[in-house]
């Protein structure tokens, strides 16, 4: 195996990992602080991408559209919290599952009603839609490097917010001892509103970053939602640090699995069976990883309270 090839595949894995982190960090906070299962988080990822695509086309400027798109995601988060989520905050988990599942159906169909079921494009400026040489023989798409940098930036920002600010302190306290926080007179509803809207913005931002690579589709949030849940469960619900480590782990396992599973299977099976079984088994890897982690640590790697 070529070392440079492995290095590029590791970059690919980090790239997926940071996208997942952007989605999962908001999800894990909403879950951790408010004990709220939000299946519609994938919808916010999708909506963010649509906002950005529409606003970039409207404004004619990539960067302006990007910023406006993030603002629109934030606004959408506020609106959703105010109209729907607030009324479910004290309902049972299963009610939340059913209601947010309904939101997936409504928004997925609604978006395809407005924008059509086909993919839209987020066009990168020509200066960003190119590759930069890394080693001799290998170059890497610039946008993917930007995703990694943006993911690192958001991780640092979140760390600073959570570790250094008063709001962050409340979030930390809220995720482990919600009753105590409420008893101390903190308006937990407002805290939830802020955490929720911020999470929606991060998800929308992730959708935009990924949408520039893959195109923007009404159902793009579905698979990301499941992966994000895998991430927060492996990382430990409520733990942003856990979400970061789990996201990178999942991103790497998934990408390296896809890159090398067929070749490894080829050592044991005929070429055609390996080509058919390899991709399926590569897709299985992250679930095997999750089951292993939960078998050893039933509350994830960084369970809150650790």
């Amino acid at each position: 195996m070529d070392f440079a090839l492995l290095a590029v595949q590791i970059l690919n894995g980090l790239d997926l990992g940071f996208i997942l982190f952007l989605v999962a960090s908001g999800l894990t906070l909403v879950f951790g602080v408010m004990d709220f299962i939000n299946l519609a988080h994938g919808v916010q990822y999708m909506l963010g991408a649509y906002f950005a695509a529409a606003l970039i086309a409207w404004s004619g400027s990539f960067w302006l559209g990007l910023v406006l798109g993030a603002a629109a995601s934030l606004a959408m988060g506020l609106v959703l919290e105010w109209t729907v989520f607030r009324h479910l905050a004290r309902a049972g988990h299963l009610e939340q599952v059913l209601a947010t599942f309904a939101l997936i159906l409504i928004f997925t169909d609604g978006v395809s009603m407005i924008f059509g079921a086909g993919a839209l494009s987020i066009n990168l400026p020509a200066s960003l839609a190119q590759s930069v040489p890394l080693t001799h023989g290998f170059s890497y798409p610039l946008w993917r490097l930007i995703i990694i940098a943006a993911g690192l930036g958001v991780a640092l920002l979140l760390w600073a917010l959570i570790a250094k600010t008063r709001l962050g302190m409340l979030v930390r306290a809220g995720s482990t001892h919600p009753q105590t926080v409420q008893a101390l007179g903190v308006d937990i509803d407002r805290l939830f509103l802020m955490v929720f809207a911020f999470g929606a913005m991060l998800a929308g931002f992730a959708g935009t970053m990924a949408g520039a690579l893959t195109g923007v589709e009404p159902t793009m949030g579905d698979s990301v939602l499941i992966l994000a849940f895998v991430v927060i469960v492996v990382g430990g619900v409520g733990s942003v640090r856990g979400a970061l480590i789990a996201a990178l782990l999942i991103g790497l396992v998934d990408t390296l699995g896809r890159a090398f599973a067929t070749d490894i299977m080829g050592l044991f099976l005929s070429r055609s069976s390996a080509a058919s079984a390899g991709p399926a088994l590569a897709s299985m890897l992250i679930y095997v990883l999750m089951a292993l982690v939960l078998a050893v640590r039933p509350s994830g790697l960084f369970a809150s309270g650790d």
Binding site: M284, Y287, S299
Partner: protein
């Protein structure tokens, strides 16, 4: 007194009553408009009701929210397929093998999954179901991702009972009835009480000297076996078996059926399954955006139910 019982029923379970009413009206309207409900759809609804009922048992009684309940159901279908490919098609044999396969899968995965609680349980059951999904997708002998046609339907003592969908519908409704009766008995039994207790107050249950795991594991694998029986019927109804049978979307649909009907009521799962299957068929014929319509209906039901009945306090 029947009217009195009906009154009580409506008072205590308004949404069940409302859903049942809507269902009856829709059926009647269909008859009047000449749109008779096809027997295949009835069979499909009864089959999903069987799977949803078995999920409702572990969810309602044991608090086990499995997001992988389509896996034993799908495995039941794949058992039917593989036996049929090998030339075994007797319904009793197929059902017995499917039950064992579904129960074994649930028992083995349950041993690990039941160590976790809450959302971790939801996700680990999903993980095992996804593994089963990808395992079936990787088997080219079963058609891989595309799936494959069932060579021949199951027979009863060599008699091709399931050749007609109406017979499958009848059998499914019968089995659903037996299952409902049986599970109600189990719920009221000593085992059912222990199961409930293990979920409602685990600490006290353990303090009383009980070990929760055996009760939960037994219930979990039993439900898996029952779900596999539904899978056998689904394979016979569809004549085509694909990995989408064990997809997480399917598991999610089963949860939606259970929650829609109401976790607390025994017949809720049946009601939810019928409502969802018929709504899907009905709305699909009316509008291209039937998912949107379905979503609005579901959302309205949750929000209204929260107002009228208060939340069902089953926290996973």
């Amino acid at each position: 007194m029947l009217p009195q019982r009906l009154k009580n029923f409506v008072r205590h379970e308004p949404t069940t009553a409302l859903l049942a009413l809507v269902f009856i009206i829709a059926l009647l309207a269909g008859q009047v408009l000449g749109v008779t409900a096809p027997t295949t759809l009835l069979a499909r609804a009864a089959i999903f009701a069987m799977a949803a009922l078995s999920l409702s048992f572990i969810l309602g009684q044991g608090g086990m929210v499995s997001l992988g309940h389509a896996a034993p159901m799908g495995l039941g279908a794949y058992v039917t397929l593989s036996l049929s490919m090998l030339g075994f098609k007797d319904l009793f044999l197929v059902m017995a093998c499917a039950f064992v396969a579904g129960a074994t899968f649930s028992a083995l995965t349950g041993l690990i999954a039941l160590r976790t609680r809450g959302v971790y349980f939801i996700m680990i059951t999903l993980a095992f179901a996804q593994m089963a999904y990808y395992a079936m997708s990787s088997l080219s002998v079963f058609g891989g991702t595309d799936g494959i046609a069932l060579p021949v339907r199951s027979t009863l003592f060599g008699w091709p009972l399931l050749r007609a969908d109406s017979a499958t519908a009848l059998l499914a409704v019968l089995m659903l009835g037996v299952m409902f009766w049986g599970l109600s008995r189990v719920t009221r039994s000593r085992f059912g009480m222990a199961l409930r207790a293990s979920h409602l107050n685990e600490a006290r249950f353990t303090a009383l000297g009980f070990e929760p795991l055996p009760y939960r594991l037994l219930a979990y694998s039993f439900a898996g076996g029952l779900s596999a029986l539904a899978g056998v019927l689904l394979a016979n109804l569809t004549d085509y078996i694909a990995p989408s049978f064990l997809d997480w979307h399917r598991s999610g649909e089963l949860i939606v059926m259970v929650v829609l009907g109401g976790v607390a009521r025994p017949a809720g799962a049946i009601l939810g399954a019928f409502a969802l299957i018929y709504l899907e068929s009905l709305l699909g014929g009316l509008t291209q955006y039937w998912n949107l319509a379905l979503g609005l209906i579901l959302l309205a039901i949750v929000l209204l139910r929260g107002r009228f009945e208060g939340a069902t306090r089953i926290t996973p």
